[in-house]
Symmetry: C2
Subunit: 634 residues, 2 copies
């Protein structure tokens, strides 16, 4: 498809926006009037700039409050249109967006609307221009695509067509399925925006909280399917009003925008296939290599220096890991427990070194288990991920890898051809792996800069077909923390992504000074929480002290007997139960190296969350532990 984006979706001056749009690989751009009238150059210069950058101007917008205006204003409004048509011709675009009138004194009589729009279409047609008519969800009289199509059909002029915007239909729970009945050539333009579902005024929601497809909760494939069915072949354009996007770096944001359109096209293709497997799918839709199922975390790699390597090794051995080997050619060591592998990289001239952070453990790579690494890499690159090729020593295996949004690596580890594991090829292995109660990496929790959360969500959704849970908002004593969990389709890989806009929260403090994102804890799953905690306590692992008041409240909420409650309290075990009877038992270690800690957890009866109800207790306990050691915050 022709992929386009509106200038309002990005931050920066107009030239900065256009350069970012071209660099991301878009084919076209919608020019927002405000970006033009605040720009120091002429419309012709904008046209030239776009031509030089190789992007088409797909649309000029908006032209407001025209149809059904007070009769004494119609002539003046037509003059205004002619001035904007002049501008469009200088810009070199033939399409203008006319959005439905919102004025309180506008007229709703359909015959008047038809007459007005016919007049406008004739004026436009006389100059070889076209008008796309859009229903705003908050239009005074016209606010559905059905009304727009009814008017366009009756005007029946080649210069007037339907303009569709997913937000304006889905925000008011409109049904897009009937769009399939519109002739494709009467749809002049399609705008795509996603959004979180918010119970608020639709205009405010639209102006501040839209996001790229895949970052919100709308069924956009369901919106695009009937459009594709019409035979529409015009642009698919992103028109995103988002407060965060207005401040985000335009280049990386534009790249996310293109990725979101590709993701939407793939999802739409899947939907078309599932609805009618026999029917051919138009080849205008992006068709990447299918996503592979992941089979868990193969290893986690931390960037360390020698003191931190000693520190982490001590923590991990107390948690039941054993030193399993040293890398053949690099200053890298391996710790193992069962099938869980932790790599500590202290190699001074490696990529990992760029991640080394004096403030604590820094996750420089996650390795994902896949059936075929080359295939996984191929798909990631089709989605615009940056491949990485490291230095490979003699007889070491090259592992396909791409950069995550913070520059860290994602390795794709497959079984290989020769039956030898990557540890066999790359490490001098010592003892076989031990098993001391921790089964696997349950999840990795990251602290991200607040503006980057949507970018990470889209990255994992598109590259690996991850699912995202709803965002939860949790109180830290020094501000709010927002958390969104991602999981691979079968749940074998889980990430908890956390942000905070307040600078004194635990999440804000966990941000790496080097990369702007940081791991703050790793959770290991076990079969029996009491056995695992008992073992860890005996091995000298310091556990985070949970206030007795918490257990008093548990007693008021649940029917636990006093002995069991005492046991939970003795082991500092936090407890949660979901509506389906799933149960979570979890324990945190004290933080070390300023900000990093481990979690041990046991899930019962398909409990699938992360104990969000207990997070405020953990955050307060950590804040109190922290305040004993440091200066006052304010």
């Amino acid at each position: 498809m022709q992929r386009s984006i509106a200038t309002v979706s990005l931050s920066g001056t107009l030239p900065e926006k256009l350069e970012a749009i071209a660099a991301a690989g878009f084919d076209g751009v919608e020019i927002f009037e405000n970006d033009l009238l605040t720009f120091g150059g002429s419309p012709r210069e904008v046209r030239q700039l776009c031509a030089d950058l190789g992007i088409a101007i797909t649309l000029f917008q908006p032209f407001r409050d025209f149809e059904g205006c007070r009769r004494d204003r119609l002539a003046r409004n037509l003059d205004r249109a002619e001035r904007k048509f002049d501008l469009m011709q200088e810009l070199g675009t033939d399409l203008v967006l006319v959005c439905s009138n919102v004025a309180a004194d506008s007229l709703g009589d359909e015959s008047i609307l038809i007459d007005d729009l016919r007049l406008l279409a004739e004026r436009a047609g006389a100059r070889g221009l076209r008008v796309g008519y859009e229903a705003l969800a908050w239009g005074r009289h016209v606010n559905t695509w059905q009304q727009v199509w009814s008017i366009v059909r009756q005007v029946d002029h080649s210069s007037l067509g339907v303009l569709l915007d997913s937000f304006h239909t889905l925000s008011i729970k409109g049904d897009p399925s009937g769009i399939a009945e519109i002739p494709g050539d009467k749809i002049f333009f399609v705008q795509m925006a996603d959004a979180p579902v918010l119970a608020m005024d639709v205009l405010e929601w639209s102006r501040h909280f839209r996001c790229f497809p895949g970052q919100g909760e709308f069924d956009l494939a369901g919106f695009l399917v009937p459009i594709i069915r019409t035979g529409y072949t015009g642009p698919l354009s992103l028109e995103i009003f988002n407060d965060g996007f207005r401040a985000a770096p335009p280049r990386s944001n534009a790249a996310d925008g293109l990725r979101s359109l590709l993701y939407l096209e793939e999802k739409t293709r899947e939907r078309l296939a599932s609805e009618n497997a026999a029917k051919a799918i138009p080849d205008i839709l992006f068709a990447p290599t299918p996503a592979l199922e992941l089979d868990g975390v193969e290893f986690l790699e931390f960037a360390v220096d020698d003191p931190l390597r000693a520190d982490l090794t001590q923590w991990l051995t107390r948690l039941g890991f054993a030193k399993a080997g040293e890398h053949r050619s690099k200053k890298v060591s391996l710790l193992r427990q069962g099938s869980t592998n932790i790599v500590l990289n202290a190699e001074p001239y490696s990529f990992a070194h760029n991640f080394f952070d004096v403030h604590g453990p820094s996750l420089c790579a996650i390795a994902l288990r896949v059936s075929d690494g080359a295939t996984a890499l191929e798909r990631a690159c089709q989605y615009g991920a940056q491949p990485y090729r490291g230095l490979v020593g003699p007889n070491e295996r090259e592992i396909p890898a791409v950069r995550a949004p913070d520059g860290s690596l994602l390795y794709f580890v497959d079984p290989g051809m020769d039956g030898r594991s990557i540890y066999d090829t790359d490490f001098n292995l010592g003892e076989p792996a031990v098993q001391n109660g921790l089964n696997r990496v349950d999840h990795v929790a990251m602290a991200l800069p607040s503006e980057s959360l949507d970018s990470w969500v889209l990255y994992y959704k598109s590259l690996f077909n991850f699912k995202a849970d709803d965002e939860v908002v949790l109180p830290d004593p020094y501000g709010l923390v927002k958390s969104r969990a991602l999981r691979s389709p079968c749940g074998s890989v889980r990430l908890a992504l956390n942000i905070s806009e307040n600078r004194n929260t635990a999440i804000a403090r966990a941000l790496s000074s080097y990369r702007g994102s940081g791991v703050h804890h790793v959770a290991f799953e076990c079969d029996d929480i009491f056995t695992a905690v008992n073992r860890a306590k005996d091995a000298g692992v310091p556990l985070l002290e949970i206030p007795l008041n918490y257990y008093d409240d548990l007693a008021a909420r649940y029917d636990f007997d006093d002995d069991y409650l005492s046991k939970l309290a003795y082991y500092n075990v936090l407890y949660d139960r979901d509506a389906q009877g799933g149960e979570l038992f979890h324990v945190y270690t004290e933080p070390f190296a300023e900000r990093f800690f481990f979690e041990l957890l046991q899930r019962k009866n398909q409990y699938s969350g992360y104990g969000a109800a207990n997070t405020p207790v953990r955050l307060a306990a950590m804040a109190q532990a922290h305040s004993h050691k440091s200066q006052p915050r304010f």
Copy 2:
């Protein structure tokens, strides 16, 4: 009144919150359960901490989803209540907040609610405790104070009373006037929260956007008047759920909270007096010295070093100011035009020196013209402002002053006793003041750290009876800017307060590296914009270049003839018109010293705004000017 605040209104650990509450001068505190169960000490320790700090525990809250619960849960809910009663007795508070049930499966039959609450009241009464019953605006069956009072009246138990919360009534446009009919001793507790009017889900609004009285848009005096009429003498307590407050420094925020209650009490007193001048006003309400009307800005004082003094002097003389004198004992110079005075303070060991900022002009004081400086100072101090006494040389006049929220000074200058002005007494004056077209300081625009806006608004409202305009949100090329204008009752002093949560906007860049707030422009009013701009141009003042595209759009929007438009464009004059036909003409200088600039403006036909519609044009023009001179932003 007994003034109280809920722990949830402040950030920090429980001890940090309690210390801040005591330091601000509150009499009591509502303990939120979550703050207790995340606290490492016992309830008895909390009781002792409060006793040591001299604050009463006015309430424990919340107890949820009790009345009308599913019948099979009633016994268990009563057990839960008994456990919380134990806790309250350890805490040493006798009052618990029970909020109306929100559970979808809860029962709404009034007789069941009455039975349940009678049971609870009897249990509480048996232990000498009391229950305050509150209607949540989103309660499943009970969501108005009228329903609560009906139930409380019918239960008719001395341990059950009405609990009122302004948010839950005003958010759903409830009428508080009938509260006056409730016997005062049946109102157990009153919570006060203000909020901006937002079109969103009431629960979300309540949980994230409440603010202190005077910071929002609710008529809280109208809510408190009928409560006072009942004879209620219990606590007035702030229960503020606000995302910003959760991260704000608790001490200064608690101080704002107390100030907001005093302000509310004064406004309530005024309302009672206006409604019935004959009736006595209960003396429990705060009664400060009345606010004086301001008569404009007497002078603005900038902290400068020698190069900046030379720079500013050159700019101001080009704008028609003349050097009028040097201070008798300090390195301070005076520039005047008509009755407008600018003081440049380069004294190295003065308070001003603390404000000196290498990045540009820093406003260290605003002097306000009043009829009596001592009276103005008295009121400011009653509202908790910190008085300032500077060094006064021989024969110099001591000017009453207080600290503004950023530590800068507000002077109160009155005519004095001897007919000599402060300039006569403190300066060696040269020539008499000139008049070159600029009449007065129209407004001063400040850039503030985003979390401090509400604090500034409350400061000016309470100390000086300023009015605040609605907040406007404006796009800068690199993010959003929020602006709120304040004006003295007769409009003689105006401030435009601006914040931005995005670090690359002009507002964020205008923040002083020293004080966290900064002046970014000063606007002078003139009688004729073209004369004034022509004079400034001739004198070599560089004006901010406005794109021609802006004037093309003006032509489309207004009936200007081409000559007039050309004149506007030639002089870079921006234009705005309000709905009442008021008109604004305004021009900006180029920024200098990195971030500071001047504005010249002319208001016609009572135009009262600031040309917000043109702000995006100015911000984009400045961003483009800036980007020519500096490194890429991203």
